[in-house]
């Protein structure tokens, strides 16, 4: 190695360059330090949070759902155990082969493409539920357990509905659409509206997980809190009895409410369905149910709206009395029809009722008396009293698809049909036909309002809510006249439901009103030659049979409202059913 006689100058240059590079190195170190300061000191909280979020996993454990009881603590909806085949990806690499093996061993009819799609999304430490497991399947699985490393049987809870007659009130549960919620929630009727009340608080398992999602240790556990129970005003025995009284081949509904506090004691609709099939995921039955043109999911008690027919007449009578349009004693002559503007309006009794006062008009359901009254009446007075007595209202009691129905008025007709009101329409409205649309629950409430003297309790299903009254007080005298007449309907000879007193003298004595609501209007020509009576009318055009009654008539406790679609006359079909149900309620003191 030759020694160079390097000049002083070139050494100086090297030393100067060295200084430059050291300076650059120091500046770079400083920049790095500043960056570290920014990350570790200034933004420490941000990164600390991220770090905790990384490692902390919160697993929710579903709470036990609150139970639903009838008024006597009979269970209507509870929880029962459910077993599922669950696959855990982390337990075996061959988990998909095992799924196929399971499917061929126990005929589960699994959808492999769907499962493999779902499995890809699943964290390998949280299991994926393949299918429900029946007892036979569990036994079969246990025998061959050694074949399956990645599949386990896991117990969880499902909703259990012991009595199918309540499905149309309690509703059912469904899978939550939000993926963040692990468990199903109520999607119909009370299960839906009382979701918050019933659901409870999920438990939380806080655990530390690694980057692959594997739990390293559990940090803390918050136990789940069971949901609140719900006590209903319904009575199990009455509900079952009333359902048995509905003709199985006809659509219809029975509502029984308590006069004193508006408690709904039973509320039936036919046809009905069994909510359990949703919990048991019986897909064919669910499909059949949804496609059934009888619409079993449709509860006629509060979603079904019909012309009330003659049970509406007390409202017309009360308007007449309030407006001084009628004298209750003064008689009107019924010759079978009444005319207005060259048109005849017929009484149901073709030969006429003869001389009729108010009581007789209600008792024998004379239409002509009410036509004469209607000629002097303003439709808006009818509408306003109807609303005061519980019609044209939705009751907020947690039921899905509750409607308001319709009480026609001038304003309504202008707004919806863009036509002005004709007095002839008042005539048919006053006998409960025409545009009138009421539900059986509304009719029960209407009679509750009359029996309570105008201020009536709003119907309720939740036993633990306070009774709330609404409506305007009626004149005491007017109320007495109406109730007397309604009692006479059943209790006095020639009353439209007098037959009830004769055929079942042992039953509780009731009052009430029959109604026959026309599905089609009868043509003038047909009426003249009695064609409409002899004619074979297609069943779906036959009259609806309506009856609203209360028992016992001297001190009413229960109101029953019955409608049988296309059942014929109210006195023949609906009234005997209502009488039986009222008798049952009274004798069993529900």
């Amino acid at each position: 190695m030759e020694k160079n006689k390097t000049s002083e100058d070139s050494i100086k240059i090297l030393n100067r360059r060295s200084f430059i590079i050291i300076t650059v190195g120091a500046i770079l170190s400083f920049i790095v330090s500043l960056r570290l300061f920014s990350l570790q000191v200034i933004n420490f909280n941000f990164y600390k949070k991220k770090s905790v979020e990384n490692k902390l996993s919160v697993k929710l454990t579903p709470p036990l759902r609150g139970e639903i009881y009838d008024s006597k603590k009979n269970l209507l909806a509870g929880s029962s155990s459910l077993y599922e085949f669950v696959v855990f990806k982390n337990l075996s690499k061959d988990h998909f082969t095992e799924i196929r093996k399971l499917d061929s061993l126990i005929k589960l009819n699994l959808n492999f493409s769907e499962i493999s799609k779902q499995l890809k999304k699943y964290n390998k430490y949280s299991g994926y539920s393949l299918s429900r497991a029946s007892w036979e399947q569990i036994v079969e699985f246990e025998k061959n357990k050694f074949l399956f490393n990645s599949i386990k049987i896991i117990e969880s809870k499902k909703r259990y509905y012991p009595h199918q007659n309540f499905s149309q009130i309690i509703g059912y549960m469904g899978q939550s659409t939000q993926s963040s919620e692990l468990y199903s929630k109520g999607v119909f009727h009370l299960e839906k509206s009382y979701e918050k009340h019933l659901r409870g608080t999920p438990g939380k398992i806080f655990s530390e997980v690694n980057a692959k999602g594997k739990t390293i240790r559990e940090i803390s556990i918050e136990k789940s809190i069971k949901g609140n129970d719900l006590d209903l005003t319904l009575d199990l025995t009455l509900q079952n009895y009333a359902q048995s009284q509905l003709p199985t081949d006809k659509k219809g509904s029975i509502v029984v409410i308590s006069v004193s506090d508006g408690s709904i004691l039973s509320m039936n609709s036919n046809p009905t369905f069994d909510a359990q099939i949703f919990e048991d995921r019986e897909n064919t039955k669910i499909k059949d149910l949804l496609n059934d043109d009888q619409k079993p999911l449709f509860n006629r008690a509060f979603s079904g709206f019909y012309p009330p027919g003659s049970v509406f007449k007390p409202i017309s009578a009360l308007v007449g009395l309030q407006r001084n349009l009628i004298d209750p004693q003064k008689e009107v002559f019924c010759k079978g029809h009444s005319s207005l503007a060259d048109r005849n309006y017929y009484c149901w009794k073709k030969e006429g009722h003869g001389k009729v006062n108010l009581k007789k008009a209600i008792k024998e359901s004379c239409d002509v008396y009410f036509y004469e009254l209607a000629k002097k009446t303003n439709i808006d007075d009818i509408a306003s009293l109807s609303s005061n007595l519980g019609l044209n209202k939705e009751y907020d009691i947690g039921l899905s698809n509750m409607g308001k129905g319709l009480v026609p008025s001038k304003k309504w007709k202008k707004a919806f049909l863009d036509e002005s009101w004709y007095q002839g329409e008042t005539l048919i409205t006053c006998i409960g036909q025409g545009y009138n649309q009421t539900s059986p629950l509304q009719l029960a409430t209407l009679y509750s309002a009359i029996l309570n003297g105008g201020k009536y309790p709003i119907p309720k299903l939740d036993k633990n809510t306070n009774t709330r009254f609404t409506g305007k007080l009626l004149n005491n005298e007017h109320q007495k006249i109406i109730i007397n007449s309604l009692n006479a309907v059943v209790q006095e000879p020639r009353g439209t439901a007098y037959k009830l007193s004769i055929s079942n003298p042992g039953y509780v004595k009731i009052g009430g009103k029959t109604g026959t609501s026309q599905v089609i209007r009868i043509k003038e020509s047909e009426r003249k030659d009695d064609q409409y009576k002899s004619k074979e009318i297609d069943e779906r055009f036959q009259d609806h049979s309506v009856f609203v009654g209360y028992a016992p008539y001297h001190n009413p406790k229960y109101i029953a409202s019955v409608i049988i679609e296309n059942g014929g006359s109210g006195s023949a079909v609906a009234a005997p059913i209502a009488h039986k149900v009222l008798d049952f309620a009274y004798k069993n003191n529900v």
Binding site: M1, E2, K3, N4, K5, T6, S7, D9, S10, I11, I13, L14, N15, R17, S18, I21, I22, G25, A26, L28, S29, I31, V32, S33, R35, L36, F37, L39, Q40, V41, N43, F44, F46, Y47, K48, K50, S51, N54, K55, E208, V209, N210, A211, K212, I216
Partner: protein, 367 residues
């Protein structure tokens, strides 16, 4: 070939002490990276270290003259090694970087850095530098640097290739090229960088794009940077404490034993620990550099300055990568990243530095 044994007393033992401390920090770090276990990294790295130690002291005892004389031979050996790597090397993670020699997987590119610096030091020494060096005299070292850059870049190993090129440029700069040329070339590089961009492999372009915005791909390529920043940031001022780094122990940090060891260190020991580590490396850089001011021989000066710079530079590049101010290019943290070739080459560099620091030009002239 070797000096007398007693010259071992002339070694800078402070430097050796700092080196051992840094290695020991690296060991502790690898131990914590494995979740408090010697297995698999800390023990392996320690065995390598002990195995390399005799070689380390052997190099400190080499006659500088021997190194000077064989400068070209070293470079040719490395060149053959690199070409062999390209042809016979084995491939891992999409790159052909290693060859097997006597049962070891060697990354020749690591040793290229040393050979290149030695070669260029000799070149400039021979130039008998008068004043500043013109462009013409710089062309040979530049071309050699670029050849090695390309040979490593096509493995592909962009990180190491860039380090090789930078070292070549630093030698040229340090040796005293006229300032106008580096400034001019910087201008040219900046203006043609868009064209260079198109020569990058898609994964390299990807890394740079994600470096600029890691949230483009938070679960894919950006994951490394994001998780590394979380680890470092969550360390805070004081750190989470020894073995208390959750990002590391719960495996959120990828490549934690190699490129991202600094994140593990910083998560446990915080800003304080990080600044201490930077200071240690800076002191380690300065000790040989300060010695250069006492030397007059260009060869000695370049070896001491540039090789010392190499260790510090790689340290800075590596931590800049982990804190997200440079793209992730795969540069190891000297003495702390797990890996044999990097450890061996850095030990050889330190041995060379110790060797050249013990030179007393007044007493022992080149003859």
């Amino acid at each position: 070939m070797f000096r007398e044994f007693k010259s071992i007393y002339n070694l800078n033992w402070i430097y050796i002490f700092i080196l051992f401390i840094i290695f020991w920090i690296g060991e502790i770090n690898l131990y914590s990276a494995a979740g408090g276990s010697l297995d698999p990294w800390a023990s392996n790295q320690l065995i390598r270290f002990l195995f390399f130690l005799p070689l380390f002291f052997l190099v400190t005892m080499l006659e500088p003259k021997f190194i000077y004389n064989f400068a070209e031979i070293f470079l040719i050996l490395v060149l053959i090694g690199l070409i062999t790597t390209l042809i016979f090397g084995y491939t891992g993670m999409g790159a052909t970087r290693w060859i097997r020699i006597a049962g070891f997987n060697l990354q020749i590119s690591e040793f290229t850095k040393i050979a290149l610096v030695i070669f260029m030091a000799k070149y400039f020494h021979k130039l008998n530098a008068e004043k500043t060096i013109g462009l013409f005299k710089s062309i040979l070292p530049l071309v050699v640097s670029i050849i090695f850059f390309i040979l490593v870049a096509i493995q592909p190993d962009l990180g190491t290739a860039v380090i090789i090129l930078v070292l070549g440029l630093v030698v040229i700069f340090y040796a005293g090229i006229k300032l106008i040329y580096p400034l001019l070339s910087l201008g040219i590089i900046l203006s043609i960088s868009p064209i260079l961009w198109t020569f990058l492999k898609p994964y390299q372009q990807n890394r740079i794009q994600i470096f600029l915005n890691p949230d483009l791909d938070p679960l894919g390529k950006g994951y490394h940077i994001i998780q590394s920043k979380i680890a470092i940031g969550s360390g805070g001022l004081q750190g989470n404490g020894f073995l208390e780094g959750s990002q590391s122990s719960l495996d959120f940090l990828p490549e934690k034993e190699t490129d991202f060891v600094f994140a593990i260190f910083s998560e446990q020991f915080g800003f304080t620990g990080s600044i201490m580590l930077i200071s240690l490396f800076f002191i380690m850089f300065l000790i040989p550099v300060l010695k250069t001011y006492k030397l007059t021989q260009v060869f000695n000066k370049i070896i001491l300055f540039v090789l010392s710079f190499k260790i510090f530079f790689e340290f800075l590049i590596n931590i800049s990568m982990t804190i997200g101010i440079l793209p992730v290019v795969g540069v190891a943290l000297p003495f702390m990243s797990y890996g044999g070739s990097s450890l061996l080459s850095n030990l050889i560099i330190c041995a060379l530095l110790l060797n050249f620091m013990s030179i007393n030009e007044k007493k022992r002239m080149f003859s």
